[in-house]
């Protein structure tokens, strides 16, 4: 479904991604871990099409299309969803209104009729249950004054509404309390299916107790320096990153 080959990207002339290779197949869950500043969010942003990042080398195909060739909105409409590490506030625009615009633009792209108010509300009600989000939150301005956890939960709610094929969750677990972590993870698991894939960026093993990854990758200094199965996450939890850094640094010398 997603194939990243030798991806290099820089921001304001500073190279951040230095040759990423990653294959994600339908039905799979990939976890990306790695120390702060290693480029995890950058990778997510580049996949989503953020313009500040310049792709200097490499290619990315998504459902056999050249992903890098598509505008950010078309990537979203094709089914790429990014749950932001830091969700953005939009004053004066209710979540409901925002989502209705988004859902209908995505539907239009996919050749579906727009949802009328009644159908839209039914959909909202159904998806709200998935992440146990409070209706009151949805009538407030998008993310404005939301607590950290509410913002994260709202991201997963949006994901449920938009039904993406590839979901990238950037540290969705940070800021969630223990119950919310379970609820949000359950939501993500229920949305999983054989024709969908998920990339979860996280620092903590505990999320992976709920969302069980098929593969775990370690990103360090703009490269994937180690890949493994879910046991790798446990090992990292125990030993930290130093041994991986050492290995990687040795390899580059």
């Amino acid at each position: 479904m997603l194939s990243i080959k030798n991806l290099h990207a820089s921001i304001e002339g500073t190279p951040i991604l230095k040759g990423i290779n990653l294959e994600v197949k339908a039905g799979e869950v990939h976890a990306i871990m790695g120390p702060n500043g290693s480029g995890k969010s950058t990778l997510a942003s580049v996949l989503a099409g953020r313009e500040e990042y310049e792709v200097t080398q490499g290619e990315v195909t998504f459902k056999s299309k050249d992903l890098l060739d598509l505008s950010p909105e078309d990537r979203a409409r094709e089914g790429v969803f990014l749950a932001f590490q830091y969700p953005v506030e939009i004053p004066g625009v209710s979540s409901t209104n925002f989502l209705r615009t988004a859902v209908n633009q995505v539907r239009e792209y996919r050749g579906q009729d727009p949802l009328d108010a009644v159908k839209f509300l039914t959909l909202i009600k159904e998806k709200m249950k998935l992440v146990e989000i409070d209706q009151k939150l949805l009538s407030r301005s998008l993310n404005e004054g939301f607590s950290g956890g509410e913002k994260k939960r709202n991201e997963i709610f949006q994901m449920a509404m938009l039904e993406p094929t590839l979901s990238i969750l950037d540290e969705t677990d940070s800021g969630l309390d223990i119950d919310a972590l379970r609820i949000v993870s359950n939501g993500v698991n229920q949305l999983k299916s054989d024709d969908k894939a998920t990339i979860v960026v996280t620092h903590y093993q505990r999320l992976l107790d709920y969302i069980i990854p098929d593969f775990v990758h370690v990103l360090y200094n703009g490269k994937i320096v180690k890949s493994g199965t879910k046991e790798l996450a446990l090992e990292l939890e125990e030993k930290g990153y130093d041994w991986i850094k050492e290995e990687a640094d040795k390899a580059t010398v």
């Binding site: 989503a48 990014l82 939009i90 004066g92 625009v93 615009t101 988004a102 792209y109 839209f120 938009l162």
Partner: protein, 481 residues
């Protein structure tokens, strides 16, 4: 569901959509400005002598005045002698009611989306349609008449209700108030007149739609709204003009009088032609709007959405004379390309316990300049006066400017005046967030801007709010990315 989405669904076109003009035979004054022209206009309207004298007095005062230069706007000098001061579509005979109005003229309004046909009109809005210098017709006159409400063209009111006109004309904006008000007093052509009698709550929105069609003609309307004791009305004004390369002058005067316990809500969506992308053409909009809360417990509320005009110079104000009276000003002013707007309000607290509230939202894009200028004045006698002002500016791109000029003058120590101001840039982060959810950039801008202006848009009657949101989106098209 939401107003925003209706807009997004509706909005497709890119150009100023009311830029067309129609050729009709016109009854025109000769070009130029002098006493004879004023006599000509007055005679054309068959005015009584007192009104002609009033005009001439204003003209003589105006001749001694000079154009104000303090506003933060720049434009070449307007040669007032090269303008025409009266142009009216020729009608075979004077129409007594809408059925007699030339269908071609009615079509102009149909094309603007304003049906003057009462059956087709949405219930709840009465319209006075002003084309160039004259009113071509007013709807729902009879329905309103039963309640004693007078809603007709200004010219008609001069004949049907001379005592009211005589009493209130110039009572809020004196003829010598300022350069453009004096000019308007001398040459004003037509406009709307409303009178709401004691204790009557006007059951429908009263609205006037101004359309400039003729070239090289100044438009000088005069609107007078009088709300008698304990009455209420909501008045709306809309306007458009053809797309022309020359600049056109629009210098209107609006006066509102609120007696004891009366309330007037005045809303306008201003969409005069703003000029093209390079700043060529467009309307010069130099307008004086003022209301007086003359009686105790009265209230006047101004809501404006300013999207058009090349240059705007406009400060709807409230004189809070009655005790416990309230003045409000809600404004969204959008400028794009080379537009310039200097707009704001004046709240003059005279009575005790008077309150005012100012919410101004400026949005600047392109190379435009957007200034808020507001004055809050608390006079000696105004014990416990309260003012709250919120002035926000939103910038799109780096070539535009936003400026805030608040003036505060307090002569009573019990006054409480609060002023808050913010300036923000439309964030790349916000746009990207919208894009990532599948929303196209132009629609994202519309969404963000409408959210930003929500507090003001919420003040508008529903039908107008939809129109206003659509306009905001249209005005800002192409300003990002």
């Amino acid at each position: 569901m939401s107003k925003d989405n209706q807009i997004l669904e509706e909005f497709t076109s890119k150009e100023y959509e009311h830029g067309w003009s129609v050729n009709y035979e016109a009854d025109e004054a000769p070009i130029g400005l002098n006493e004879d022209i004023i006599r000509w206009i007055s005679a054309k309207k068959d005015e009584p002598q007192w009104l002609l004298d009033w005009r001439l007095k204003a003209f003589r005062a105006w001749e001694k005045m000079t154009e104000p230069e303090w506003a933060n706007v720049h434009y070449p000098n307007i040669d007032l002698q090269k303008l025409r001061y009266y142009s009216a579509p020729k009608q075979s005979k004077k129409a007594k009611n809408l059925d007699e109005v030339d269908p071609e003229l009615l079509q102009i309004y149909e094309r603007l989306g304003i049906s003057l046909n009462e059956q087709k009109r949405l219930q709840g809005i009465a319209v006075d349609a002003v084309l160039d210098s004259v009113s071509v017709g007013t709807t729902f006159k009879e329905t309103l008449g039963k309640l004693g409400i007078v809603f007709c063209s200004f010219s008609e009111a001069v004949h049907s209700h001379p005592e009211l006109i005589k009493k209130y004309l110039g009572s809020v904006v004196p003829m010598t108030d300022n350069y453009y008000a004096a000019l308007n007093s001398a040459v004003f052509s037509d406009g709307s007149f409303c009178y709401i009698p004691k204790g009557v709550r006007c059951p429908m929105e009263l609205s006037t739609y101004f359309r400039i069609n003729a070239a090289n003609t100044g438009q000088f309307e005069r609107t007078l709204i009088v709300a008698d004791e304990g009455s209420y009305c909501s008045y709306l004004e809309g306007c458009t003009a053809p797309q022309r390369d020359e600049n056109q002058l629009h210098a209107a005067v609006v006066e509102i009088y609120a007696a004891k316990d009366a309330e007037v809500k005045y809303s306008t969506v201003q969409n005069w032609y703003p000029g093209d992308k390079n700043g060529k053409g467009g309307i010069y909009n130099f307008v004086t709007k003022r209301g007086i809360c003359a009686g105790d417990n009265s209230k006047i509320s101004w809501t404006q959405v300013e999207t058009g005009s090349a240059v705007t110079w406009k400060y709807p104000s409230c004189i809070l004379k009655g005790d416990n009276s309230i003045g409000e000003f809600y404004s969204v002013a959008v400028t794009n390309n080379y537009q310039q707007a200097d707009t704001g309000t004046k709240m003059i607290h005279i009575g005790k316990n008077t309150k005012s509230r100012i919410v101004s939202k400026g949005i600047s894009a392109g190379h435009s300049q957007n200034s808020y200028r507001g004055q809050v004045q608390v006079m000696k006698r105004a014990h416990n006066a309260r003012n709250f002002s919120q002035c926000d500016s939103l910038l799109m791109g780096s070539k535009c400017g936003a400026h805030t000029f608040p003036y505060i003058d307090i002569q009573n120590s019990t006054a409480k005046v609060e002023h808050e101001a913010t300036t923000s840039k439309i964030g790349e982060d916000q746009l990207f967030y919208c894009n990532q959810r599948g929303i196209a950039t132009e629609d994202a801008v519309a969404l963000i801007v409408n959210g930003y202006a929500k507090e003001v848009l919420n003040q508008l009657p529903m039908e107008f709010a939809v129109e206003a949101q659509k306009l905001l989106a249209l005005t800002l098209e192409g300003s990002v990315g």
